[in-house]
């Protein structure tokens, strides 16, 4: 007849089989999930490539030029002329008004040319009017 040890062994065997089955099943599920994610990654990558191509197609200078010409009346955009491009050094000096002269601020720019900038004063010499 069955002894206790037999029952224990059978129980162990059955549970081991069950565990193996469960593990295998879970591994398969995980594998399927991984494959699904891989497929999704591939799909996303292909989509990214396609969207990049799409983006460069939409931002083609020739297309933008056509659009700009088409909507010229609404947008009122004009090409930048060379005269509109200036550096900070090209800005004219601020015109003096009567208060500046009364307070003795005329030509103040020239004084601080060799000093560090202090307060709101511009350290750059932008040219003087009153010298």
């Amino acid at each position: 007849m069955f002894r206790t040890s037999d029952i224990v062994l059978i129980a162990v065997m059955v549970s081991a089989a069950a565990l193996t089955y469960k593990t295998k099943r879970e591994a398969e599920e995980q594998l399927a999930a991984v494959q699904k994610i891989h497929a999704q990654i591939r799909y996303e990558e292909d989509t990214i490539d396609l969207l990049k191509a799409d983006w460069s197609l939409l931002t083609q200078p020739s297309r933008l030029q056509k659009l700009a010409e088409l909507y010229k009346s609404q947008l009122e955009l004009q090409p930048v002329s060379a005269r509109q491009i200036v550096g900070i050094g090209d800005l004219p000096a601020k015109a003096l008004d009567i208060e500046d002269i009364l307070k003795g601020r005329q030509g103040g720019m020239a004084d601080n040319s060799d000093k560090a900038p202090s307060g709101d004063r511009d350290p750059v010499v932008t040219g003087g009017i009153a010298q």
Partner: protein, 569 residues
Amino acid sequence: MIGKLLKRRAKTGEAGSIVVEGARKATGGKGRTRIVMTMAVFFGIFATISGRLVYLGFQTPDMSGGPQSRVTASRPDIVDRNGEVLATDIKTASLFAEPRRIVDADEAIEKLSTVLPEIDYEQTYHKLKSGAGFVWLQRQLTPKQQSDIMQLGIPGFGFRTEKRRFYPSGETSSYIVGLTNIDNQGISGMEKYVDEQGLSDLQASGLAVAKDLKPVKLSIDLRVQHVVRDEIAAGLERYRAMGAGAVVLNVKTGEVVAMASVPDFDPNNPYNAQDKDRLNRMSAGLYEMGSTFKSFTSAMALDSGKATMASRFDASHPIRVGHQAIHDFHGKNRVLSLPEVFLYSSNIGSAREAELVGIEGHREFLHRLGLLDRMQTELPEVARPTEPKVWKQVNSFTIAFGHGVSTTPLQAAVGCAALMNGGFLMNPTFLIRTQAEAMAMARKVVADKTVEGMRYLYTLNAEKGSARNARVPGYRVGGKTGTAEKVINGRYSKELNFNTFVAAFPMDDPQYLVFTIADAPHPEKPGMTDVAAANAGVMAGNIIRRSAAMLGVKPDFSHENGATLVSYQ
């Protein structure tokens, strides 16, 4: 097992326990035959099953998966200097059906038309009912359409992925980027160059994996390239020319920032790419450059040390060699100084300059500037310049004003760049190159003093001479026109010209050089002229006006506004 069973029974008999043998003996013989019969039946069944399995195992299954996916090789993307895509691979899926496996054709088409509404019902129905093993239904689907069709779950439908080369910029950069064939191999332009750099070997060994291929960065700036293409295309129409082209060259590095030639083709649909007039005129077209060559003649005279800015050349009479005579187009009929020869584009004066240097010196100088040798660059479409086999005096005279030798416009531009950038000749490149790299392989071809003189002549010519049309306020443009009589069937045509224009800017320290050509242009309106200043010069001016800011050249009006200059001193 049966043996065991029998043994056990025997054992129980021997054990000596009380067993009624009679009953067993009465049925014993029959029972044994039953067992044998059962065994035989089961054996038969299993033998049939395994036999069938073996039979099926030897059968070759019905292969009806359609054609195998064409293994198209991956290519690296080609991008411009700012990373804008010029050429890329896109994966497209194509839908096929296996009509033999279609259960219900009507239902399949109905479902399919929810995703592809434009599908032709009747044609598709016939295709699906044809009983063929394989039919294409729709080529080149987007990934979205593909996944939608997959969601429908129609049996008997399948996909094949195909790689296709796509050129977002279309015609704009067609000649530079080039083309690939159906097997995704480069057949022209930079696509071919990339293959020659070992990509084809990689593909052959199957190592060209899309992920590992880094984009190839060109020296082209797509924005400037568009401006150039746009202007020459407009010029082609405006002057009803046979062809037009332009190149923008960075004179400090030898990089080609933009280059275009029209008529061109759409690389996404290159049905006309092999037409006779579809030729990259800038690098593969050979032309007599006309007066633009006077830049080289003047530079040669200055560089030889035999002439200075103060030298004088007698242009009061035509030069006669044998029965040919050399005249001036804008004749002054007097003695001209060297700057005047350049300014009035005097043929006689230029011939006199060449005479001063001598035939051998003239030839050597043009070779030194690389104008008569095959240009070394990445682009495969490069023509070999032609020159007379034996240079006679008359050859030297005519070559002095740009007739008698043919060279490519790109080469002439590179030669002019050497006269502007301090005398360094560098091979033009379509790949990114720094100034240090360029200087490492550059060759000093003319002296600093010559460069200084040439910059002066170009500036002067834009202020007082024929290059005024290319002047752009703020950008200090200098240049030279060239109107050559076009060679048709070996003779100089009196009606048609080949016009060139070279412009450099900003002239105080030239950074960029623009070289434009117009092949057989006509006057824009009746009564106007068709010389280079009126077409090639205008195009060059427009290109500079529109692209200078993008090229990072700062406008400076101090030269044009004397009053400002004084107040800032």
